[in-house]
Symmetry: C4
Subunit: 220 residues, 4 copies
């Protein structure tokens, strides 16, 4: 009975549910806060129409859309991972908070590239945030999927590799965009926008070609 109680206390201390509520909450807030950086044109001077003025804020709309999809992908990946995780330990709680940090900075980064869409410094800061998000995601996958006592099922190498691949893949592309931001800022922005599309197609392809019930089939 005393052992039972010990076990229950252990389970409660390692219950991931509040980590999920916090993470879902942060993701929900960020995708809605992002729109606050899309400013309604203030005054129409003679010869201006709302349409011409809206064209002027196009960079902020592009930044919104890219950032929206970045958060959506991060959230979906987070959800995928935590379908395999049964318990969180101290390290996992803090790794998760570390992942939330660049996510919370994303509205600032989006605002920066919306205001300075061709400035290498703005593009690089945004790129660093994207790399940090991908890195944080990979870190959590590697940490959690390698520890049997945190998982529902025995560690699954293939699931682990698939999860890390879908995090590291984008990070590599972002690093390239970071590198060329000075010489080819437009290309850099295009990469930020294209990665989610490629990501989506790649995961779809991996799912469709993998045998049913395999690890890739669980990626959303």
């Amino acid at each position: 009975m005393d052992e039972d109680r010990e076990q229950q206390r252990y389970e409660r201390a390692h219950d991931p549910s509040r980590v999920l509520v916090l993470s879902d909450g942060v993701c929900a807030i960020i995708i809605t806060l992002l729109v606050l950086e899309v400013h309604v044109p203030e005054d129409l001077h003679p010869g201006e129409t709302l349409l011409t003025e809206l064209r002027a804020i196009r960079p902020s709309i592009v930044a919104f859309l890219i950032s929206f999809v970045v958060v959506a992908i991060a959230w979906v990946g987070h959800r995928d991972l935590f379908t395999a995780i049964r318990r969180t330990d101290r390290m996992l709680v803090w790794l998760n908070i570390l992942l939330l940090l660049p996510l919370c900075l994303l509205p600032f980064g989006a605002s920066l590239i919306a205001r300075y869409p061709t400035d290498a410094v703005a593009l690089r800061i945004y790129g660093l945030l994207l790399i940090a998000i991908a890195g944080g995601r990979a870190g959590i996958w590697i940490y959690a999927t390698g520890r049997a006592h945190l998982l529902y099922d025995p560690p699954d190498r293939q699931f682990r590799r698939a999860g890390v691949a879908v995090a590291v893949g984008p990070a590599v592309a972002y690093a390239v965009a970071f590198g060329i931001a000075e010489v080819a800022p437009t290309m850099s922005m295009v990469i930020y926008g294209a990665v989610p599309v490629v990501y989506f197609l790649a995961v779809s392809f991996a799912r469709s070609t993998s045998p049913s019930g395999s690890a890739e089939g669980d990626l959303t």
Copy 2:
């Protein structure tokens, strides 16, 4: 036993609970963020009173109220649908994110028509957002209610049709408002404001005339 484990893993990967937390969070944030677009009059010049100045921000209050009800109806419809859904698959997760996109843009749209209440471009952008929300809702209903393995009960044609109808109905009205925005901007705005009222009455009527236990009776 191995099959059991497989089944449990399948259920966890298709558990809709986090999709609901994210959606509820987004809806809660949007209806509260909307008020940030209602600006307190900054300075009272001689001859002005707060009352006259508040009249000047009436468009932003109207935009707030319309948008509040739009989100409320979207949330209620979302809740209705997910009382029938037992599992989410990859497609449903992404369809849901696609529905959140125009919802997240709604504060921008509301701000736009609050600032330019008679500008056709502003009215049309707002209309597009409303149509996208209704379309996203219809898409989720059609996708989910046609797949038995995602539902608690066998697909119910009547429930499906009712759910699509209450999404498509408003969309048609919004399309009309979109069309006439140039020639009759005030009428366009009136339609945006009237749709929720008509919607509410229509659902009430459908419920009261339908036999108890029927599909329409479950619409909120």
Copy 3:
């Protein structure tokens, strides 16, 4: 078995859990958004210190504190009520959304009295919001506690009366503050600030004098 399925479907359609998540989310967001109306003094001119400038924003801090407590009391009352409610029906879902409306407008109202602390119009708009919140709360209590099929236990008259009393009491005080806003604006503001204190003491007193296990004992 068919009846079982019908029953389960009924229960799912009347499950209050998402109503609670939405309400908790809105309350959490409002108490945090309120602080955005407390503006940091922009520039210190010669002869000014941060302390003198902070005194100038005292009204906005007072408005923040009053509004914070108003939302806290509304949330606690909401929680009290939903400890008795087992099911929500269509009417209750919409009554709850109606209660969220003035809550969502509260940051605007707080901003208004922070900017115009002695203006009768500002004070009355704020008062109307407080009355609407109290009224919405009373409406939900009256509706829900009178319907046995929505409750865990048979309707409890005393619990009902206690719940309505703690909602109507403040509303009466707010109505007085509304009435005197023109002739005695400062007194009006004092009432808004004092009601939560009196409320808290009254509930404490009602709890301490009621026999253990009685209805008042459940009020938080």
Copy 4:
């Protein structure tokens, strides 16, 4: 049976789940709102680059990071505590709301020290908020861990002492920072930034040196 019903009602009225949703929501919103105080440089004048302008907003980034970690630690401590708590009573609900108050004011405090990083008044207000957060946390620990009927397991003196220590320790450091804000503002800021690091190391050390299964081992 009547006693059963009484017991169930008692459990529902003391269920902590909504307190947790509200607290998680508030923490999620604050860490995301904090970034709104980091402003993108508006215009680049001749001779300025984005990099030089970003250096100018460094204080706001530092304030963001410190505040982010403060909220993260408060949330982690909250989660630790509520793994031991089975029921909440009236006092605990209100103590928790009292803890949320300084948390909600943190974005204002962060904005203040970002704008006036060397002003003693700004530093002291921020310090007071940190002390209030630590104090609120200690208050909840002391109240809850001393009441057997609120806990899963019998009160554990060691767990209680550990929880209070990790709350009071930082508070003492903040009080020092508060005291020296006038004579050594930079040192004051350094303390605010260093406490989380020391905190983290101290908890790590306490965990690693404590026997497995002991109270300190449960601190996150």
